[in-house]
């Protein structure tokens, strides 16, 4: 299963001009656990999904109370780039969303 299928809501938005944050909301505990335990939603996994340096991954956060996750990434193209194609950062979830949710033990190689 990929992240897009697993999450109920995947919303991408600027968090200030230089960072994009992708909020993930899951429909149930099992989906939440699958995502939290995945190799995709780790610093190396997120970096690989976007093709960016691990140092550009600002953080990955979880809140079990509301079955939510959050991935924040430094923008590779910001509003200071005249060619920035997504000024609100509303469509930058897509490379992450299509990533497969492989358990960390299996995906750790």
């Amino acid at each position: 299963m990929n992240l897009y299928e697993c999450a109920a809501i995947i919303r991408s938005k600027n968090a200030g001009p230089f960072t994009v944050t992708i909020d993930l909301f899951f429909p149930d505990q099992d989906s939440f656990e699958l995502a939290r335990g995945s190799s995709l939603l780790t610093v190396p996994g997120v970096a690989k999904a976007y093709g960016i340096d691990q140092s550009s991954v600002v953080g990955i956060y979880w809140d079990e109370r509301i079955l939510a996750g959050k991935v924040s990434v430094r923008r590779w193209s910001t509003c200071n780039d005249p060619w920035c194609p997504d000024l609100f950062g509303a469509h930058l979830h897509t490379p992450l969303a299509q990533g497969e949710l492989t358990p960390q033990r299996e995906g750790a190689s």
Binding site: I52, R65, P82, T94, P95
Partner: protein, 465 residues
């Protein structure tokens, strides 16, 4: 025990829902000590700050039902105005507010708080040795220098709650500010009444986007909270929405890189230990903490980097779709090497890019797909140059090369692509960047705010045009 402070919150750059009067009536039944709404932000990027224009959010129009309630019931209102929030933006909104007051027969006494930063003031600070560092290490911006200040079209400061409090002490009906920290608007009155700073800030965070923190979220709706010494309760004002633990906690995620830590002037709001409990009518929030730090305000400044002209082409020819990037690269190169443009391109006074929708229009260089997979693609030629004329000429030149230029195995020798627009080239706008996104240390939070008290509607000769 501090008496509760009740806040009615909304967003003034979003048009209110059609039944907003019912929500306001409900809030008045529960009690309202201040009506607060934000109307500035940087999410629209540096264009508005640089150009002095506004997106057309009709802010003075959106506040009408709220101001009506405020004046009728003697409730102070606190609004930030103008999106980018420099003086020119604020003044445009204040002229609209003059018109609103005139039309409705209102004559409110308003404290206007300007937060545009005078370049000489800031340069003087830098000359005196103030270290004004980039707000984010990843912004690519260096520690602020005098030359950067001088090159900026406009500079604004996100004022905190303190100037709003100073404005409220003038026995006014309302406070209208330029660029301001959203939660600072909400913190101002509760803190004056003795509510702890952490609770005021946490409540501000929940209220700053109006009904967006509800379920379903809609910034055209309002939101209500009652703050006390130990926390606050948030409620929806309509049966069509509700405050839930999920909606409020998810709202703390919104447009923030960290879910529980938020740097602000004078400290960080820490929600690590925050608790949320359902009540009969909403959610009770407690446990916020404020980690004090030296006082800084965020400065935003915009510099013009050039002028944009664009043109569009549609491609449905299969052979051209197969080699579309080779074709657009050749078009760009033709511009860069043309005798009339070569010097400008080499010096960086002329930049050109082609965006191919259907290939990599959204992700750009991060797009993993290397070929068009659909049956057609859209091409946008995007030129940014030192003058509007140079941008238009280069965009037209690029269009012609793309339209008639040869490519391998071409069969379409009368014209390569479909042109949807005449004139072919659209002069788009000036292009700006945030050349300043820095933290200014301040001993006195009031130092960058200019407060004036005025009776609206103002006489014609008093109005800044």
């Amino acid at each position: 025990m501090t008496p509760p402070v009740r806040i009615l919150g909304f967003v003034n750059h979003i048009a209110p829902v059609s039944d907003i009067a019912n929500e306001i009536s409900r809030a008045l039944e529960w009690g309202v000590d201040a009506i607060v709404a934000q109307g500035t932000g940087s999410d629209w990027g540096p264009y508005w700050l640089g150009s002095g224009e506004q997106p057309g959010a009709a802010q003075a129009h959106n506040i009408e039902p709220y101001v009506e309630a405020a004046l009728e019931h003697g409730i102070p209102f606190i609004f930030s105005f103008g999106i980018a929030g420099a003086n020119t933006h604020l003044d445009q909104c204040l002229r609209d507010f003059d018109d609103l007051c005139e039309r409705r027969g209102w004559s409110p006494r308003i404290a206007v708080v300007r937060s545009e930063v005078d370049a000489d003031f800031l340069a003087g600070h830098i000359d005196a040795g103030a270290e004004v560092t980039a707000a984010y290490s990843d912004s690519g911006l260096e520690t602020l220098e005098r030359s950067t200040v001088e090159q900026a079209e406009r500079i604004v400061a996100l004022i905190g709650p303190e100037p709003v409090q100073a404005a409220l002490r003038n026995d006014v009906d309302g406070v209208i500010t330029g660029r301001a920290l959203d939660i600072g608007l909400f913190m101002a009155l509760p803190m004056m009444r003795g509510i702890p700073k952490a609770i005021a800030a946490h409540a501000g965070k929940m209220l700053e986007c109006g009904g967006l923190a509800l379920e379903p979220g809609d910034s055209g709706r309002a939101i209500w909270a009652s703050l006390d010494d130990t926390g606050f309760e948030v409620r929806a004002l309509t049966p069509k929405a509700r405050a839930s633990i999920r909606s409020l906690v998810s709202h703390t995620f919104y447009e923030r890189s960290h879910p529980t830590l938020e740097p602000n002037p004078g400290g960080t709001l820490d929600l690590t230990e925050a608790t949320y409990t359902e009540t009969p009518l909403g959610v009770r929030c407690e446990g916020a903490q404020w980690r004090s730090a030296p006082y800084t305000v965020l400065l935003e400044g915009a510099r013009r980097v050039g002028h944009r002209a664009i043109c569009f082409l549609g491609v449905r020819e299969p052979e051209l779709l197969r080699q579309i990037r080779g074709w657009t690269d050749a078009g760009e190169d033709a511009v860069r090497t043309a005798p009339r443009f070569a010097e400008e391109a080499a010096s960086g006074r002329l930049l050109i890019s082609t965006r191919v929708y259907g290939l990599d229009g959204v992700l750009g260089s991060l797009e993993p797909n290397t070929h068009v997979t659909g049956h057609e693609a859209g091409v946008m030629v995007d030129v940014v140059a030192a003058t509007p004329e140079l941008a238009k000429e280069a965009a037209y030149y690029a269009f012609i090369r793309l339209f008639i230029g040869p490519y391998p195995d071409r069969k379409t020798t009368a014209g390569n692509a479909a042109a949807p627009l005449m004139p072919i080239v659209i002069p788009a706008s000036s292009v700006y960047e945030f050349s300043i996104y820095h933290l200014l240390p301040l001993d006195d939070p009031l130092a960058i705010a200019e407060i004036s008290v005025e009776r609206f509607p103002r006489l014609a000769e008093e109005v800044i045009r």
